[in-house]
Symmetry: C2
Subunit: 551 residues, 2 copies
Amino acid sequence: MADVYPNESTTDGSAAPSITTGAIRGSHKIHHSTESGLRVPARRIELSNGEHLDVYDTSGPYTDDSVGIDVHQGIHPLRRGWTDGREHRTQLESARQGVVTREMEYIAAREDLSPEFVRSEVAAGRAVIPVNRCHPETEPMIIGKNFLVKVNANIGNSAVTSSVEEEVEKMVWASRWGADTIMDLSTGSRIHETREAILRNSPVPIGTVPIYQAMEKVDSDPAKLTWEIYRDTVIEQCEQGVDYMTVHAGVLLRYVPMTAQRVTGIVSRGGSIMAAWCLAHHRESFLYERFSELCGILRSYDVTFSLGDGLRPGSIADANDRAQFAELETLGELTHIAREHGVQVMIEGPGHVPMHKIEENVRREEELCGEAPFYTLGPLATDIAPAYDHITSAIGAAEIGRAGTAMLCYVTPKEHLGLPNRDDVKTGVIAYKIAAHSADLAKGHPRAQERDDELSKARFEFRWNDQFNLSLDPDTARAYHDETLPAEPAKTAHFCSMCGPKFCSMKITQDVRDYAAKHGLDSVEAIDAGMREKSEEFAASGGEVYLPMAE
Amino acid sequence: MADVYPNESTTDGSAAPSITTGAIRGSHKIHHSTESGLRVPARRIELSNGEHLDVYDTSGPYTDDSVGIDVHQGIHPLRRGWTDGREHRTQLESARQGVVTREMEYIAAREDLSPEFVRSEVAAGRAVIPVNRCHPETEPMIIGKNFLVKVNANIGNSAVTSSVEEEVEKMVWASRWGADTIMDLSTGSRIHETREAILRNSPVPIGTVPIYQAMEKVDSDPAKLTWEIYRDTVIEQCEQGVDYMTVHAGVLLRYVPMTAQRVTGIVSRGGSIMAAWCLAHHRESFLYERFSELCGILRSYDVTFSLGDGLRPGSIADANDRAQFAELETLGELTHIAREHGVQVMIEGPGHVPMHKIEENVRREEELCGEAPFYTLGPLATDIAPAYDHITSAIGAAEIGRAGTAMLCYVTPKEHLGLPNRDDVKTGVIAYKIAAHSADLAKGHPRAQERDDELSKARFEFRWNDQFNLSLDPDTARAYHDETLPAEPAKTAHFCSMCGPKFCSMKITQDVRDYAAKHGLDSVEAIDAGMREKSEEFAASGGEVYLPMAE
C-alpha cells in the first residue's frame, strides 16, 4: 500500500493536513494509576445520566487537551528510563525469568487483567509486546489471543508530495479511530526521514517490512539483494525504533513451484521478491539461511518478528493450498528458533479464504507455531466485491478473530483498486474495530459487552447523544441522524425517525413496562406470575381460545 | 423503515427520480429457454478474452434494452395463464402431489438444478416459492437453504412527497443491485396506491406487514385492532398480489412479561403492537386465535407466511433469551398448522446476536419449525457501531447464512439513525450480496465460486475492465480505480497503483511462471520435481545451508 502516486486527498480538500488533535466528541482522556505509579490512558465517555464508560484508548497524547503537540519535537518518551537498571533482556526473556516488567504492569491495567497473567502469556509465547527499546514513545500494548483483539492499519508515504506533518498525520488519524499498531510501508528516497518522523510521534508500535527499503538500495532488482544489504537495513530500522518487522523467511525454493498453477500465484510483495531471489540464485534465501543472525539482531533491540506469509492465497481458489501450508510449517520451525534466541514472534496469515476454511488456518497455525499470536490480513471471504473489500474482509476478520487470531490487519475500500485516502483509512479502521469487537464478544472477553449494553440502554431510553458518543464513530452517527431529524430537541425525543412519533415500538415497550410497574410487578418472575394468573382466569372462562387452531 | 419524513434525496440531488433502466455496465440481459419453452433471465458479463459469465439476475425488464418501460402500464405479466387449467393448488400442495409447476421449472433453470429437486424441497417445506396468483409479474424465485442465499430489501413511502415513479424506482433500484425480494413497509393514506404501483411493476416477490396498514385504520391505537379489520386488510393485499406477509402470531400473552427486564424490551414494531393488544385485552391475539382462518385466506392466493419474530432481541444483551425462544416454539406450532392447510411458510429471525450465539438460532429454528426457510434481519454482531450497521450485520448475516439461513433482510448504514437514501439502499444491498455470496461459498454451492475465480483470474492478468465488470458494483470499482490511475491505457496496464510499475508482486509471479515454462515444467508435479532436483544438487554441495539455524 505504498503511496507511489500523490493524489491523496483529505476530507476537506486541503492538500497538506495538519495534525488532528482534540478529544473524540463526547469523551476526554483520563489516566489510571497503577500500583507502581504508571499512568495508563483511557478514554472516558461521559453519559447524560451522570454515569460514564471508560474505553481502551490507542490515540496517545493527540486526544489529550492538556498536551501540546509539536511534530518536530516528537511526543513524550514515556518509556525512557524504564529499562535502566534492567538487564538487557527481551520481554520474552524477562517473562520466562518470572519478571513482571513495567510494560506488563502497564498492559495489565489497560486490559484489566493481572500483571501475572500478562507475564505468563508472554512467557508462553502466546502473546507479544512489541516494544523496541529505541521507541520509548510507545504506550505498551499486547497482542495475543487471550487479550482484546487488536487492529493494524497500513500507511505509506506519497513519493512526490510528502511533508513530515502529512506522514505523521496518517498515523495519528488511524490510531485516533482505534488502530493498535501501524505498519509503515513507505518506499522511495525519503524513507528514512519519513519513518523517523512517524516513530518520534507515534504512541502505538510501528511495524515495517525491511525488504522494501532494501529493494530501494538495489534498484528494485530482487536478484541483487544480499544478506549484507538486508542486515544493514534491519539494523538501521532497529536503531530508529521499529517495534516489529515482517520477515518472509518461510519462502523456500521448493515451495515456489507449488504456486505456479495457482489462480493468483504469489500476491505478497515480500513473498514474490524472495521467490524471485530463490529462482535467480537457485538456493534458499538469505532470510532463511541467516535466520539465527537475524534473531541476534532483533533480540538486542527487543524487536518482534512478524513472520510473513509470502505464499498467502490471493484468491478464494488458492486458499489453504499446499504452498500456503508448506510455508506455514517452515514458519513454525522459525518460530521455535526465534524463541530459543529469546525473540518474540507473531505469524502473519491470509489473505483470501472462504468462511468454511478459516478456522483450519488458526488451528494449524497454533499447532505448528506453538500458539504464537496470529496476525491476519482480513481474510476476504469472497473475491467478487472490489470497492467493498473492507466489508468482505471484515466478515473474514470477525470469523478468524473469533477462532483465535490476535491481530487483524485492516483492508480499506480501495484494496485492489488504488490508494486509500483519509476517509478510506477511517472506514477501514472502523470496519476492523467492528470485526475485532465482534470477536471479543464471541470469545467472551469479560468486559467487552459493557459498551454494547451501555449503548443499547441509551438507544432504548432515547438518549441520542449518549448513543452517538458510545459508538465507534460519534461524528458519523450524529451526522446520519441529523440528516433526518436535525433539530436539537430531537436528540432527547422519545421516538426516532424510523417510525415517527405515533408509531414507535420502543414507546410501546415502555407502556408494557409501565403496565407491569402499575400492577406492582417488578421482577420477571412476579410479572410472569401476575400475568399468568390473569391469563389463567381468562383461560378458565373460555379455554378453547388457547387452542384455536387445533381443528 | 416507513418513510414518515420526506427528505429522501437522490445521488444527483433531483427530487423525483425517474426509473433507472439500462443494463448494468459491462453486461446485458439474456434468456435461457427451458424444455417447455419458458424464457429464464440471466445477466451475461462479456469478458475481454472472448469468454463470458452468466450470473443470476434479479433486475427484471429494467435492464433489458429491448423492453420499453411505462410504470403506469406495469411490466409484462409473465405468469398470466400459467395457472390456467391447473387446479387451485398452492406450490406446496402441487409439490406434495408430485407436480412440477412451471414456477419450479423456471426456478430450476435459474438455479441450475433439476426441476425434481426443486419440487422435492418445496414438498418438504424446506423451500418456499412466494408467488401470489394475483402477482403474475413475478419472475419465480425460491427461498430455501439448499438454494442460493437470497437478500431482501425494505422500502417505504415518503408520506408527503410521493409519486408513482418515486415508489417504483426504489424497488427497481434495490432489485437492480441484487435484492431478491422487496418488503414494502409503506404507511400513510396512499398506502394502497403505492403498493399497487410497486406490484404492477415488480419482477421480484413483494412482502408486506399487513398489521401496519391495519393500524392506519384504527388511528394507530393497537387496542382498537380487531380480527375483522385485520382480515379485510389481508384480503385487500392478497387481491393486489402481495407474495408473502409477515404475521406476528407468535407473540403470546404469557411471553410479554419475559421482555420487561430486557435491555431493549420489544423492538419489533409488529411485536410491540401485538404485545400492547394482548395487554390491553388480556387475552391471546386474534392473529393466534384466528390463525386457521388466516391460513385459509393465504392458501387461496398461495401467499406465503413469513412468521414474524415479534420478540426478537434488539441488543446483544437480549440475544437467545427466554422470550425469543419461547416465541420460536410457538412459531413452530404455527408452521405445522399452516402446512396442514397447504400454505407455504418461512420464519423470521433476529436481530442482534453475538457470533457465538448465531448458530444456535438456526439449529433451534430448524428443529422447531420443521426446517422451514429461515429469514433473518442481519443479525448485528455488535451494538456499538451505529452508522456502520450494514457492516456489523453483514458479519452476522454471513455467519447465519453459512449456518443455513435462506434469506437475509438487509440493513443499511442508516439503521437505528434515520431513513436510508438511494446510496444507502445500494450500499445495504451490496453488503448483503457479499454476505449471501460468502455463505454460498461456505456451503459449497456448486457454481458459486465461478465468479470469484473469473474475477481473480482477471485481476491476476491485469484485465482491469473484466475485474470491474465481474464485481458486484462495476461503477464504484471503476471509479475507485480511476481516482488513482484515470488514463484509459491503465485499464490494461500490467501493474496496479498499489505497487507501481517497477515493484509489482503479480509481475514477479509471472516471471516465476515464465521460468517454469522456459524449463518445460508445465505441471505442478513437473515443476516441483524439476526444481527439487536442482535443490537437491545444491543441498548435496553444501547441505548445511539447509539447516542454518540448528545451532
